[in-house]
């Protein structure tokens, strides 16, 4: 019994951290969804499908999944030059959208966990702030 109590406590603390993270992600995604319809949907489209050869997809994008840091940088500062997304080369430009760090984190959380995408870590405002040009 004596041994069970600490285990129980650890479990409670653990799961509440987990639940907390979970609801934090949900809240962030909710805000991110609004940012998405406001700033991104005109090019990357409603389901993140993009337009082949013109606007790269975000849904199941290997770039977004594997290059998290570069993706945050792209949303924060804009992106220009050649990139390859799911085997297709894009060589155009996305302008600086003027988002605040928290908004970049929110929209990253939304696109990284929508349309079949999943991410195991939540993007925070602090992380975005630490990424420089």
């Amino acid at each position: 019994m004596k041994i069970l109590i600490p285990i129980y406590l650890i479990a409670v603390v653990f799961s509440s951290v987990f639940l907390f993270q979970d609801s934090e992600l949900k809240e962030s995604m909710k805000r991110g969804r609004e940012i998405y319809t406001d700033f991104c949907v005109t090019c990357h489209l409603q389901k993140g499908e993009g337009v082949a050869y013109t606007f790269p997809p975000l849904a199941r994008s290997d770039y977004l999944m594997n290059e998290k840091r570069e993706s945050i940088k792209a949303i924060k500062y804009g992106l220009q030059g050649e990139i390859t997304v799911n085997g297709i080369t894009y060589n155009s430009a996305m302008a600086d959208l003027g988002l605040e760090d928290e908004e970049v984190a929110d929209v990253m959380n939304y696109i990284s966990n929508s349309w079949g995408n999943t991410s195991d870590s939540i993007v925070t405002e602090k992380e975005v702030a630490s990424i420089q040009k």
Partner: protein, 370 residues
């Protein structure tokens, strides 16, 4: 007889566009596209000075003077609110620029107390590679952090009135139908920014008296018809339902109560495409081409193009030529496909067509039969 007449009229009214005219890609075009000014990011607007040099607005905030093959950055330009579709937007010369030197700019400004920004119109003169005598003529309010629908095209009519557009700023249920609020409107001012006494909402309680017409979504094309002197606009609809309209004093163009488009998510905004007291478009595009920039061809440089309307497409990345018969669209052509997002198109003083493409620069359409 009268009832038949009425019936025909109603038919005409209820049918803004009697067929879904398809866009075709012509086999032969009367021009070769030559890159005239290279290495531009988002050339939002441009204007030709009397010496044929060019002023270009970059969305990022730079005003560029292209003269003798060189680019100079103009100093003392306004501070722009860089967010979403905002930035330094259109540039237009006063009709009597040669005498008075006034040039007009639209941009997004943070001026005011609230967080965010909104569309502003200013005028200034160019001296020693800098703007001087800068005057703010209009600043739409309230500020908002929304990133879309700034409108911002500028034109002058034959009497010298200044017109400009401001989009709905992403607040379609608050702004476009309310003339006591800015946004979702076409405005008319005197060239010095004062409100003409005969503007349609002068004397109406609480109205923004600079408003000339309302119920617009996001007009990024605004020009004066070279033949009739009327003001024509085109505006981004939601998904589907981009429109061309002839602007009328005090008229309601219906957004968001009537539209040919639907939400990006596929849900309906309204069932209605028409309503009494609201204007029908002269043309609508389904699907949306995302129109930006607009010019009539007035020269004889390109075989049978005279009288055609040219419109840029951001979404499908081409230049569209609409063959017109008065106010009727006869057919549509896709030109310069795949070059990039076409942001602006103008006819130069040499009668040639110039096309601004994002990520590329400004192209000159050199006539093939020249």
């Amino acid at each position: 007889m009268l009832s038949l007449y009425l019936f025909v009229i109603t038919l005409n009214l209820s049918c803004a566009q009697d067929f879904e005219n398809k866009v075709i890609t012509p086999e032969n075009v009367p021009f070769m596209a030559e890159l005239f000014i290279d290495e531009l990011q988002i050339p939002w607007g441009f204007a030709f000075l009397p010496d044929s040099s060019v002023l270009i607005t970059e969305k990022s905030g730079e005003l560029i003077h292209f003269s003798n093959g060189k680019k100079l950055i103009i100093g003392n330009t306004p501070e722009v609110y860089q967010r979403g579709q905002g930035g330094l937007l259109d540039v237009k010369l006063h009709p009597n620029y040669g005498e008075n030197g006034w040039l007009y700019l639209s941009y997004t400004s943070e001026e005011g107390d609230a967080k965010g920004g909104n569309t502003a119109i200013m005028r200034a003169k160019l001296k020693d590679n800098a703007l001087v005598e800068n005057q703010l003529l209009y600043k739409a309010g309230p500020n908002t952090t929304k990133g879309q629908h700034f409108g911002s095209r500028i034109t002058f009519d034959r009497e010298g009135y200044l017109y400009f557009s401001v989009g709905d700023r992403g607040a379609r249920d608050d702004n476009p139908q309310d003339v006591t609020r800015d946004c979702g409107k076409i405005y008319r001012l005197m060239d010095d920014g004062s409100v003409p006494k005969d503007n349609p909402f002068v004397g109406k309680d609480g109205a923004k008296t600079a408003i000339y017409s309302y119920g617009h979504r996001n007009p990024q094309g605004l020009i004066t018809h070279p033949g009739t002197g009327e003001i024509w606009d085109h505006e981004h609809g939601p998904r589907g339902g981009d429109e061309i309209n002839i602007i009328k004093k005090g008229a309601n163009f219906g957004w968001p109560l009537i539209t040919y488009g639907i939400n990006y998510s596929g849900t309906r905004i309204t069932e209605k495409k028409e309503m009494e007291g609201m204007e029908q478009p002269l043309h609508y595009w389904v699907p949306s081409i995302a129109p930006s920039g607009m010019a009539f061809v007035t020269s004889n440089k390109y075989t049978d193009w005279k009288g055609s309307l040219l419109v840029g497409s951001l979404a499908f990345q081409y230049l569209e030529r609409l063959v017109m018969d008065g106010t009727k669209v006869i057919s549509r052509e896709k030109l310069m496909e795949g070059e990039g997002r076409v942001r602006d198109v103008r006819e130069g003083p040499d009668g040639l067509i110039y096309v601004a493409i994002e990520g590329k620069g400004i192209y000159k359409l050199v006539p093939k039969n020249d």
